[in-house]
């Protein structure tokens, strides 16, 4: 890695592969569905202020300046909360997920006022990052009301990251093509690649 640097992969790999018989019908169905933005068809469970804060947080934790239309992580989180779905466990020290998000987003906004004199959404990106770093490092007290701050940050970050890297475009970004599942893989050792596995783009000359 040190010699070649972090690879950058070509865009569009998945959309090209999805039309081929290298992908099984059930996998194609799931990915094609996710490529569309998730519909918010449930009654809202976060109010407009909370949702705006969540969007602003998403934009800092997983910034997507390279995308004209960023993958909508806030909508994915909201959709899950509205459907009251979980992942099978929760830190016993945390309140239930929806309550945790409400308390956490409120706490972030209060901290933004304390640290930057404005609501989180109104702070500059650098200030927003400073607020998030303070939360992650536990420099802002142990808990906001019933919410353990460090655990809230860990859970929030893990959920956003899982949403992001579940998305076909993000999987393209990291050169993942495990979804090309119809025939499996013959080339499995080090540096062995099938013809339909993406190669990194040549490094761009700097300066």
């Amino acid at each position: 890695m040190s010699d070649r640097g972090t690879p950058t992969y070509p865009a569009g790999t998945m959309q090209a592969l999805l039309t081929t018989d290298l992908v099984t019908p059930q996998t194609r169905r799931v990915l094609a569905q996710r490529l569309k933005s998730p519909p918010i068809d449930c009654p809202p469970v976060l109010d407009p202020t909370e949702l705006a804060t969540l969007r602003a947080v998403c934009a800092r934790l997983i910034p997507q300046p390279d995308r004209a239309e960023p993958i909508d992580l806030a909508a994915a989180v909201h959709d899950r909360l509205a459907r009251n779905e979980g992942n099978g466990w929760r830190y016993a020290a945390m309140p239930p997920d929806l309550e945790a998000y409400r308390l956490g987003l409120l706490g972030l906004d209060e901290l933004a006022h304390r640290m930057g004199g404005a609501a989180f959404v109104d702070l500059e990106a650098q200030r927003q990052d400073a607020v998030l770093r303070a939360v992650q490092r536990g420099e802002v007290g142990k808990s906001w009301r019933a919410l353990p701050v460090a655990l809230f940050f860990e859970e929030l970050l893990a959920e956003l990251v899982e949403c992001y890297y579940s998305h076909p475009l993000a999987q393209d970004e990291i050169g993942y093509v495990g979804y090309a599942d119809a025939h499996g893989w013959q080339a499995v050792g080090l540096d062995k690649l099938a013809s339909h596995e993406p190669r990194p783009l040549p490094p761009v000359e700097q300066g």
Partner: protein, 526 residues
């Protein structure tokens, strides 16, 4: 085309008094169901999850496949709160074997007498030799691909059925790093087929295609999950499997015998009359159901001694293209640390190379390194060059690690379980030893940016097996001391965690429990 058992197995009516109800169709329940059906018993299995048709239903997508996990919320307490869900739980016909890795090294003889050996932990009430014929039987039925000879443990009386699976990138790197340090490695025994494989009453199963998705469901039937092995055997022999059937309680007669199981199907409560019950729900749902029912707990041991294997991982980035999504995830093994010399802890661990899917990896990067922003995206662009090793290490039983019912209700209206888990000194020392060694291995293999992710794997204990009715829930045959016609068969009865992945032992123990039950019957004692 091999099909998973579906809903068309109906054979018995609720008004029938069946010989046995088996609760759960995973590694603990499926072998028993097959054994009893083969012996001519009228048996019904209740499975909380649905019946899948993997070739059609299983997408190669982590999010879509999360339906295989037990997603009812569990509350994780203590200083090392256990992550449940995809890490260690399952639902569906086949239970968590639907997404187990299929890594099936046997425990070694000294694992069964940890207390005698070290003065801590617990001994099993029988020796390795009791399970050896059952290990052989399970390995044959599942079709295990593995090396001959196998370098550790007692010499195998029967070689593995199939040649080892091909090594993927992570396995090759671990081989390189271990060789540099003088550690022995071997292709690991995996319950996935390196060639097509035939078993009577199961039929032909196809070879593994190296899709790398074992932990989110095998779509081709190459992995030896219960839905393509013991459950077809059971159904062929006359067993009935009821999917989407969630057991909620028992009716007990004045003599303390269970005379039927209450369960929810399609939102309605039903009652299946039966002569025997085999409870095989795993180390969380089994004690939970017993605590809900107030059964089998005169010892006060139901829910106690919860254990989870030490599963600490060490990751690194390599120049080479690893492509962690390809090949059998646990390709390589080393058991050289089964009992490390001069160690400051009891027991030991094995080393395993890791394949990993991107969402799981990203989640671990978020939790373990706390990366976000551009640093996170930069790290993740190196996913194809990431490789990991983990330990699978002993965890001692402690009374203070336990499961209880909380006052919070889940979607079914039942109390959520709360699981308290804190590592002891033994676990801390074992993990530190493993982390230091794995960092050395990765450095020797040429890794950059080496980092450790502390984690646990598997859920064990909570209904311990023993010889003293005052200190154990079940006897060495798996029979509850307090309820003469209740058997428990799953990882909950393990007195100690063993330094090997549990699925193979759960299945072997299930067959032994079934045989002990049948032998009692032959003596007229059931």
């Amino acid at each position: 085309m091999l099909r998973s058992p579906r809903k068309d197995t109906a054979r018995f009516a609720l008004t029938d008094v069946v010989d046995a109800v088996v609760i759960g169709t995973g590694a603990g329940g499926a072998p028993i169901l097959a054994r009893l059906a083969r012996a001519g018993f009228r048996v019904v299995a209740l499975e909380a999850g649905r019946a899948w048709d993997p070739p059609r239903d299983f997408a190669t997508d982590e999010r879509a496949q999360s339906a295989l996990f037990w997603n009812d919320e569990r509350l994780s307490a203590g200083e090392a709160p256990v992550h449940f869900g995809r890490n260690n739980s399952g639902t569906g016909v086949g239970g968590s074997t639907l997404h187990f890795t299929g890594y099936v090294p046997r425990p070694q003889p000294d694992d069964f007498r940890l207390h005698s050996e070290s003065g801590v932990g617990a001994d099993w009430p029988f020796v390795y030799g009791e399970l050896e014929p059952y290990f052989e039987e399970v390995e044959r039925v599942l079709g295990v691909s593995g090396p001959d000879p196998y370098p550790w443990g007692p010499p195998r009386r029967v070689p593995y059925s199939l040649q080892p699976l091909p090594l993927n990138g992570a396995a090759e790197l671990m081989q390189r790093g271990c060789a540099a340090l003088g550690l022995r490695t071997s292709a690991a025994p995996n319950a996935a087929l390196s060639g097509s494989y035939y078993q009577p009453d199961i039929g032909w199963r196809p070879a593994c295609v190296n899709r790398g998705f074992c932990q989110a469901g095998c779509s081709v039937g190459a992995k030896g999950s219960m839905d393509v092995t013991y459950l077809p055997l059971a159904v062929t022999a006359g067993a009935e499997i009821r999917a989407d059937s969630f057991a909620v309680g028992f009716d007990v007669d004045p003599h303390g015998r269970i005379n039927g199981v209450r369960y929810i199907e399609d939102g309605r409560e039903r009652f299946q009359r039966c002569r025997q019950v085999f409870l095989c729900g795993g180390a969380i749902e089994t004690p939970r159901l017993l605590l809900l029912s107030g059964l089998a707990n005169s010892s006060g041991q139901v829910g106690r001694n919860f254990m989870a294997h030490m599963g600490l991982q060490v990751w690194g980035r390599f120049e080479e293209d690893v492509r962690p999504y390809k090949g059998i995830p646990g390709g390589l093994i080393s058991e050289d640390m089964h009992r490390p010399p001069n160690s400051a802890f009891a027991g030991g661990y094995l080393l395993q190379s890791i394949g990993i899917m991107p969402v799981t990896y990203a989640s671990q990067v978020a939790r373990g390194r706390g990366l976000w922003g551009e640093a996170l995206r930069e790290h993740m662009r190196g996913y194809n060059h990431a490789a990991g090793i983990n330990i699978l290490g002993e965890c001692l039983p402690y009374a203070s690690n336990y499961l209880e019912l909380s006052s919070e209700r889940d979607g079914r209206g039942l109390p959520k379980p709360r699981i308290h888990f804190t590592l002891g000194d033994n676990e801390d020392r074992l993990c530190a030893h493993g982390e230091a060694l794995m960092r050395e291995i990765w450095a020797a293999a040429g890794a950059h940016d080496i980092w450790a992710y502390p984690r646990t794997a598997h859920v064990i204990g909570t209904c311990r097996m023993g010889t003293d009715p005052g200190a154990a829930v079940v006897d060495p045959d798996g029979r509850a001391f307090d309820v003469p016609n209740l058997y428990i068969s799953d990882n909950s009865t393990f007195p100690s965690a063993l330094s090997a992945n549990p699925a193979l032992t759960i299945m072997a123990l299930a067959l032994r429990t079934a045989d002990r039950f049948l032998a009692r019957g032959a003596r007229g004692e059931n």
